[in-house]
Symmetry: D3
Subunit: 137 residues, 6 copies
């Protein structure tokens, strides 16, 4: 039986949207206030979903505490209370849109989740704006 | 890389459920209090999801502000603070159930979303009742 | 020891704001889209708070199930899936603003709550608009 | 047109995680505090999703009140305010993890939902831990 | 300037309501399903509010991390994943109603909060049932 | 009759906590990760409460749209997508803790609310950290 286990986590971070190959004017036009020079921030809500077989001995797809531990170690401890645009190498050459943050998180966690399991990321930038990524290339 | 961007919006509207081809008695039996003559209302929560390729220059599938603008112009400005059963042509021949409202919204927005992108609608009538439509015919 | 017990309930209703002593124009100007002729509706969230002494035998101020029963009988069963402007006598001579609905609910419940206890009403018209009334005259 | 209708319900229950074939030590190691002898509990939130054709006469996939009735009768009335580990036969030989509870609910409701419709269960153990099951074997 | 700082925390616990001085029949009549012998549980949400002067050097009434630390040490670490009726000495002679749990938490934290500050406890047993206690005797 | 009307608003901003009169070491010790040099951010949720007499002609304490307009003009338009520590004059000599932001908002809005009405500010920095200020000096 295949089932999906989901774990929610939070981090508070700063970013701005900017494409260094564009003029200031174009960046302002495309990204609006999200381009503001001195940054703005969000309480990001992250949902990590892992789909796989239920183990008959534990009754679990994957231990939630283990999943929580991976998210804390590889994502929260690195992103929380940071400036994604300045402090985090993952976005050195990548505009930290919600889309790109979700893809970065997926790539990082993918290495730590059993190969036979599927991985899906939901990332809420605000209560009204969010993205979903399931590793579809 | 394919990713889904999601935007939440709200509108407050009135409706009643009624099939004009049925007797009053049958309408009452099938729709219960939702058939009440003088209407009742809801704070509808609408989630619009658009799935497509991430643009490498913007780091976005679609600009969230543009998506917000489409939802505001074609849905919220037309439905908010209205009586769906009386004021809105979309439901002239269509019972305004959550199902039919979601389908109507999908049809309207489908024309304004890039053809290569997928569109999915979630509509919450209450916190406990909601529907999902992805254009499956 | 004095403590406050709180119970949340819901009802879905329709209303419009209108002062029959005013011109159409003035009503429109003051109440905006809330004055729309064919009504609009809300999922009202009602929180009823009762403050009083904790009974040492039950460890309760008031049995939550009894409080739930009063709210259901006197408020939910009468307001839910109704048009407050048309169907409900409580608003025959009273504009059904969130303020006036909260006061009406307070007056009704006040008769069924023990005299020595205080009563406070919170009424959410939307997630972003709400009122509080504690019977202060 | 195929659409999904969703209904949310709640129950408050107690459980503990334990595999009777394992030693106390191994149970403690695998399940941590969830293995505590005297149980712990949750406010479970259950979302039941039914996907099917919209009936052109009713504008509904399935009457939400009927769906609510099924959930109440077969799940809530049996699980609410109960000890899943002790009181409920469904978990006599099954560790009541969120995964196994979701599968049990799916099996029970599957018999009462029209065969041509799909059924999906979401079960929130806490706001941060939840599972999804769509009957994939 | 006096201001209130608030911190939310969670614990998952089991309880049952029972007055050992009463007959089984009376307990059942007064407490209903909450009296069930094998317990039931909740995801308790606890809000701790501390009112006091804002320190001009820190711009804080009290460091939120210090407040979080007190709540974790004295409440969460002791109540989480426990059976309040069986495991916790605080309720040895006290029926673990939401009211009594809130009062117990207030008494415990009161000793660790600066004397000149006021303390208020909100405790949600479910989304719909909650209590508030400000130490009024 | 005195009643409280409440309006919720949102803004996304960046800040860091720092006392320029202290050493780096002391700032780090007191404010922890909130002192990080490159800032971090939040989705602030602001609730503005106005208590006053209900006008018998409008059935309102104060028009919610007018209140929304004041909040948008004087707070949201100035703080949203900004760096509170760098961009906003209100915090030129004031550490932008949740406490100080709430007090600043109260001072600003106080000038635009009718003198006979009371004003209370709730500010959520995260879902778990929030403050309340009612102008008590």
């Amino acid at each position: 039986m295949k089932l999906t286990v989901c774990r929610k986590a939070h981090f508070n971070a700063t970013h701005r949207l900017n494409n260094p190959n564009w003029s200031e004017e174009k960046n302002r036009k495309v990204f609006g206030v999200c381009n503001n020079t001195n940054y703005h921030g969000h309480n990001y809500e992250l949902i990590v979903k892992v789909k796989g077989e239920v183990d008959s001995e534990t009754g679990m797809v994957m231990n939630m505490n283990h999943l929580k531990g991976l998210i804390d170690k590889y994502i929260i401890d690195r992103y929380d209370h940071k400036n994604l645009y300045v402090d985090i190498e993952d976005f050195k050459d990548l505009n930290p849109t919600a889309e790109n943050i979700a893809i970065a998180i997926w790539r990082i966690l993918r290495e730590h989740i059993a190969k036979e399991n599927e991985l899906l990321i939901q990332l809420y930038e605000t209560d009204r704006n969010f993205v979903e990524f399931s590793g579809e290339f």
